[in-house]
């Protein structure tokens, strides 16, 4: 087995196991930490596929920024395993069942195709920053600018939502 394949299986197992732990761990903080592990595994997958830029962006944006936000919120709300609301056993069973059947259907629909991924060096240069940047700032410059406006509005929105309403303080 080539080391690439070993890495693939290892990362896949890691990603799936920790994804399950995200769903099934009782303590929300543990869920967040397992989700970070999932993102790290996915980052590893990106590196195998030689998508360096996405790998590092995934690490900085998802694992480094978004998950810290989640952790912040959970820590401030002081959520722990005891105060965690639980659904009834039957609801959970039904959820797992329906999820499993969805997965079966999707796999059945998508299983027949003959593509493959190779990790030869010369064949994988599109994931490099140089190439991605060139396309991003020429062909996709308008969506890029629009996304910056999106960010600005998200920022304003978050501040407006998070700010304590002065009328509620009085009451």
């Amino acid at each position: 087995m080539h080391i690439n394949e070993i890495l693939f299986w290892f990362l896949t197992a890691l990603a799936l196991f920790s994804a399950m732990m995200v769903v099934f761990s009782k303590n929300p903080v543990h869920s967040v930490l397992w989700l970070i592990v999932v993102f790290m595994a996915i980052t590893g997958h990106y590196i195998i596929m030689n998508a360096q830029f996405l790998a590092i962006v995934n690490m900085i944006v998802y694992a480094g920024a978004i998950m810290v936000l989640f952790l912040f919120v959970i820590m401030f709300m002081n959520l722990n395993a005891e105060s965690e609301p639980q659904k009834s056993k039957w609801m959970k069973f039904a959820a797992v069942l329906s999820g499993g059947s969805l997965m079966l259907i999707l796999i059945a629909a998508l299983k027949d195709n003959g593509g493959f991924i190779s990790s030869m060096r010369g064949e994988g240069s599109i994931g490099l920053i140089k190439n991605l940047g060139k396309v991003l700032f020429t062909d996709y410059v308008v969506p890029f600018e629009i996304s910056s406006i999106l960010f600005l509005s998200a920022m304003v929105g978050a501040v407006v939502l998070g700010k304590k309403d002065s009328s509620t303080i009085v009451s």
Partner: protein, 354 residues
Amino acid sequence: MITMDLLAINFSLGLEKLLLIGAIITFSLIVAMYTTYAERKVAAWMQDRRGPNRAGPFGLLQPAADGLKLFFKEEIIPLTSNKTLFVLGPALAMITAMLTSAVIPWGSSIELFGRNISLQIADVNIGILYVFGVVSMGVYGIMIGGWSSNNKFSLIAAVRGASQIISYELAMGLSLIALLMMTGSLSLKTIVQQQMEGGWNIIYQPLGFLIFLICVFAECNRTPFDLPEAENELNFGYHQEYSSMKLGLYLFAEYVNMFISSAVVSTLFFGGYDIPFVDETALSLSLGANTVALLGFAALFAKILFFLFLFIWVRWTIPRFRYDQLMDLGWKKLIPLALANMLITAVVILWLNK
């Protein structure tokens, strides 16, 4: 490039890299050890005292004595803490502090046993982004440690530390963008080579350097930004519940962080392993490539030592910021400054290329 260099391993290359990793980790641990010594010594000198001078000649064995003391202390894990995470916290802090050293070029290459060995663990072509990624991981060591101690002081300190690091990462990134526009490469090795030819980046980016330096201080949780450890309001900060070597790892990670960030600053702005006022290629003809590589490493080390001294110097000069002042500086001063710096650099580059 990471993948293939990583995956197309032959035995001798792997051995070489492993040895290099071992050497660099040992080296940074030793330097961190003696930074603690230097900190106490310099602090003493600045306060007209003598500092540690009992353990060994000039107190040189003091760090070893401190380490031994920490090892032999009782290991206390609070009953109500979250045990796994409590242990994971210091480990994460230490690992993320160490990981950054992988992309720093510690020197050019040396010839040994007929092999050309590059003094850099991995010449990743997204080197700086890798540094940022690892730095953003460093938040978790603090947050997990602070949260799992189950102590409100620790928690507040952890949240403070994390929000401080996240806030200053922005200004840090923005100040670097100006630099990257000039160099046109994210690989640290390329940046160093460009500085060898075209002069150090500090000449072109003094403002960027200043912003970057301030952000580095904040990222390392050093005074004047050591809010997470503000004794007068938060007792001992996020590692309050820790004892023994787990506390040691946290304290040690701070010094390793200092060392690595000094290395990053000297690589980005002070020419890395470039020996000032000397033409390396001419010198290597007369002295041999190996000697020049070692000299280059010595030059880098001298720069690192200067920055370590600067860290200590600033710590014993400037008092701590208040928390709102800290956020004010980060968001309202440094980020606009960095943006302005970026714009000016862009305009100048465009004007020169016209």
